[in-house]
Symmetry: C2
């Protein structure tokens, strides 16, 4: 089953547009888990168990596993195994390298880790992106306008064609003819989100930056979802994982996920809501 | 010892501007090594042993280790251990993520793998780069104008400030006040290399794209080295690693490294040569 089918199934089944980012930071684990050898794995397992009926997707950012050293790869694999098969997964590693090398990154994500989707940094151009598009049952989310302050440094430069993030969005639409792709657009830019949605009405958007980074759920739905068939995956990581630093962390993660799910669903307009319900 | 000291020591000791890219592709190993469980490690060990007195640096591209799955991390670590302590190492992973996440990538490279330098994709801006600059005894090479065909898609766009690759170069010069950084400029763009060197006279340049990708050693020295104090690291990977597919692969790698070293040294002008000799 392809990524988009799997995603749409999960959206309808769990009535959710929430993607939970599984980004374990050893410094921020609940106190009772700190220090134990399997503490990160236990943290992931319990968080997944507590949220799996409330989400449409899980995203795993490679940085947090790479920073664990040799244990990181197995931790990532075990996290993946705790995720039900009918929920899609995204490896967030923002890969971008020359064609020959990009093939190896695609192999790492799709053949070794068997994720359903990836994030890709498009700065190096088409040959850096194409090896990901060639996996036609997966999906590559290309960076467009990221949620962080530094997005203003280059992504907002006016170019001979258009503002850079719009050039990136338009190129992704062209490249989506090769294979499935989407865009990463930060929730912190509601007005630009609307503009990008107009440029790419049919692409799925991965939208980080709600909660901790300041993005607002309602404006994400209003500007990102629009009236198109393109879906939105609204990612929250820290605000869910670290909702409580105590023994109730999994319950707190569930409550935080439920709150975001509810805020998103309330913002979904009737016409879109009927689509959500299938 | 900081990256630049270590690099300068190696340049003088080995009279070399060559960086060998250790990018093991299981499909391209010599026939007698294919299939063995430790074949990639043996390949790396023998290649390093055969070239270590002819190079100024080794670069390890993470994609090739990630694509090995669970074994990849240890293979990378064992490759690192085969490199003499007085030769600097670069983890080529083109990392780029929001500040909080970039800290974890920096930790992976500098604390876990203990490399001397990294490559960083600057598309996400300052907060994606800064965590790397904060390691003041290391060096972050920021993508500027990459060697591949896709570099034309975005890096060559004219922007309100200047062509994007020049904007990236100028920003790196500004950010080098925070901590050590350099630029990645492909050998396949000799004219632009000269322009970028004028913009960033004091930054070290990591220059991929000679040999297999078509770049020319002489023009790299003439355009990249200039008359500044900024060094160049000229990377070759496939043309060295796969110089022979037979049992003589390590000897062939040595000959290919020696040929590139000689071509670069012959192109070095007398004034720069005296600098090279210290």
């Amino acid at each position: 089953m392809g990524f988009l089918e799997k995603l749409n199934g999960a959206v309808k089944r769990n009535q959710s547009l929430v993607c939970v980012g599984l980004d374990p930071d050893p410094q921020r684990l609940p106190a009772h888990l700190k220090g134990g050898a399997d503490s990160v794995q236990a943290f992931l397992r319990e968080t997944i168990h507590a949220t799996r009926d409330l989400v449409c997707c899980y995203k795993l950012n490679f940085a947090f596993y790479g920073a664990l050293g040799a244990a990181g790869w197995n931790t990532l694999r075990e996290g993946m195994q705790a995720i039900p098969d009918d929920l899609p997964t995204i490896l967030d590693f923002k890969a971008g390298d020359i064609g020959n090398t990009a093939e190896h990154y695609a192999r790492m994500a799709y053949d070794r880790l068997n994720v359903d989707a990836t994030t890709v940094n498009p700065l190096m151009g088409r040959d850096a992106v194409e090896p990901f598009l060639n996996y036609t049952d997966r999906c590559a989310f290309l960076l467009c306008l990221t949620s962080n302050p530094g997005s203003a440094d280059f992504q907002r430069l006016a170019t001979e064609e258009d503002v850079l993030y719009k050039v990136l969005a338009k190129k992704a639409v062209v490249w989506s003819a090769i294979g499935p792709c989407g865009l990463v657009v930060g929730a912190t830019h509601p007005n630009e989100l609307r503009v990008i949605r107009e440029l790419a009405p049919d692409l799925p958007f991965l939208i980080p930056g709600v909660n901790t980074q300041g993005g607002d759920a309602k404006s994400v739905v209003q500007n990102g979802m629009g009236h198109s068939s393109g879906g939105i995956l609204v990612n929250a990581s820290r605000s869910i994982l670290y909702a409580s630093g105590g023994r109730d962390f999994a319950d707190a993660a569930r409550r935080a996920t439920e709150a975001l799910r509810k805020a998103l669903n309330q913002a979904v307009e009737p016409v879109s809501e009927s689509r959500l319900r299938g």
